[in-house]
């Protein structure tokens, strides 16, 4: 399903650098361009440390960008103030990767979920309570859990509390940062079914960050593959799986562990040799060059640009 529509989120030449001491600069996100249409799910995958969370956090204003801009409904989110800012803070939510660090340990589940409802004045008194119970049951928890504290829950249960909190304020756009990694498969399926159902019902738009490529393929309309701060491939999820173009994407797809012992015993992986370069001193040319089997002289010289090599299929690689 391709959603043709207005871009809800437009990311333009976005850079987020961190100063890491002694004058060193870590380029976590380095010139990313991406549009997310209303009602669409864009999957974001890539190596650990390649900048996915940083990109997500910059979009929802948890970070100031170093350069470039993020437009939400046409407006630069980092320039918003007053009522518009408050609206943005309601409309754009993030489900966090680390369910442990992202819940206030001194608040009950009721207050964690209720906080946003109160800030935005959405429901009061009895309605508020009912809404909280409804959200709890939506994510597979129950009323009895409302008065407990985060440390009394298992990892997966905490992740569901985070999802309920994000949904509580009726957002339009959610950055889902590995919302299911901490969950067991059956709950994963429930949460994904839930996120998809809510998307249809509420016309939600998602940026879906995850490592489980089977799941990313299932939920996403398009998938962006990131490597060391840049997008190296962008395509519909079908095309990306059927015909991965970037050598990194090819390695990524070959490494998916398949839940079948015989397949796993027989499987040949594309093993990535070489060191993962550091985002502090990324290679001069293509960022993947240190691990690429196909690298040519030009790859060490010049950074390839993301270009459309087939319809709606973009890749940043000198092979194309």
């Amino acid at each position: 399903m391709m959603v043709e529509g207005m871009p809800l989120v437009e990311i333009k030449n976005l850079k987020k650098y961190f100063n890491v001491g002694r004058g060193a600069v870590l380029k976590a996100v380095d010139n990313v361009n991406l549009q997310i249409r209303e009602g669409e799910t864009v999957g974001l995958v890539g190596e650990s440390g390649c900048g996915k969370t940083t990109l997500g956090r910059t979009i929802v204003r948890l970070y100031e960008p170093t350069a470039g801009e993020v437009l939400f409904e046409g407006k630069n989110v980092h320039k918003l103030a007053g009522q518009q800012l408050k609206e943005f803070n309601r409309k754009a939510q993030m489900i966090f990767q680390d369910p442990y660090a992202s819940l206030n340990p001194r608040m009950t589940v009721r207050d964690i979920i209720g906080e946003g409802i109160d800030i935005h004045g959405l429901y009061k008194n009895k309605e508020r309570t009912e809404r909280i119970y409804e959200l709890l049951s939506l994510v597979g928890l129950n009323k009895e859990h409302a008065n407990r504290f985060p440390h009394e829950f298992s990892g997966g249960q905490r992740q569901r509390i985070g999802i309920a909190r994000a949904l509580a304020v009726e957002p339009k756009f959610i950055v889902c940062d590995e919302p299911i990694s901490a969950l067991d498969v059956s709950i994963q399926a429930q949460v994904i079914n839930l996120l998809m159902e809510l998307q249809q019902k509420l016309k939600l738009t998602y940026l879906f960050i995850a490592h489980d490529l089977s799941m990313v393929k299932y939920v996403s309309d398009r998938i962006a593959v990131m490597y060391l701060g840049v997008i190296v491939e962008l395509a519909t999820s079908e095309d990306l799986h059927k015909k991965p173009l970037h050598p990194y994407t090819q390695a990524l797809l070959s490494a998916i562990p398949i839940p079948d012992p015989e397949t796993e015993r027989k499987k040949k992986r594309i093993l990535l040799e070489g060191d993962v370069p550091s985002p502090i001193n990324p290679p001069k040319g293509c960022r993947f060059v240190t691990r690429c089997r196909y690298a040519k002289p030009i790859c060490t010289e010049q950074q390839p640009e993301l270009k459309e090599v087939e319809k709606n299929h973009f890749v940043a690689c000198h092979l194309y």
Partner: protein, 339 residues
Amino acid sequence: MEKLLEVKDLEVSFKTYAGEIKAVRGVSFDINKGEIVAIVGESGCGKSVTAQSIMRLIPMPPGIIKKGSIIFEGRDITKLSEREMEHIRGSEMSMVFQDPMTSLNPTMKVGAQIAESLIKHQKMHSKEAWKKAIEMLKMVGIPNAEKRANQYPHEFSGGMRQRAMIAIALACNPKLLIADEPTTALDVTIQAQILDLMRDLQKKLNTAIIIITHNLGVVANLAERVLVMYAGKIIERGNLDDIFYNPRHPYTWGLLMSVPTPDLDKSKKLASIEGTPPDLFAPPVGCPFAPRCEYAMKICYEKYPEEFTVSDGHSVACWLMHPLAPKVKPPVGKGVTLS
């Protein structure tokens, strides 16, 4: 095969103001030297608590080990003093935690955290320990290890923190490594490297590994034996092929059917197990899966099923295995496709 660890009839509870949470309710299993065993099961079923009990890392209070023994190399862990335990922890057995941020020390450089363990357990000098720490960081695939060793955990990405944890756990060549969701935060290429790393370790040093994971792909790749837990109990156990190709418990069926595969049909909803696991404040007397089980019979609600043996090493706690129960054809297994 030589036994390394023997968990016998373990019961662990948490006393909260709302009542007693019975997290682990009578769990028994053995781990042999150099063996890789996976523990799988629904969120909240007691996997981490079981692992933490073996490491004696249950916060007490509120936690208590109510019953049972944990024999590690002949010694009952539950009876050791904290000092004896500290010696074992980190040198003979170590653990990679599910939540790297809460188990790494936020105020200490990552390199120093690895070195500390080496100084303490291997009696290394600080210079030597620092060198080894950098080596360990390289081994788990952290680029620029020299520089990274001097950084604090918050400066690492989620996956790099996880790798740092693994480096700490492996530093002293433990006999038992417990890895609680060690690769959930990693992308698949690094995950493949970490799995290879663990397998290498097992081959070279004969390290036994308990891996707790939700990812059945990881299980299929790494494990030799599998324990399936539900609501504080082991409901099925067997070798890898038993569990994937001849599963017998309806919960295991549900688990296998909900696994995402690359060729999932987008137009269909994902299969999942309806309902929620039982309240561990008042676990049911019968089979804890009964309210969600489409095959449940009257007896399932009344009595906990004994463990029936399917074949050598493969057993299942389900009344369907009783000779008088109706014959049910497993919906998954050999010859049945998963998607």
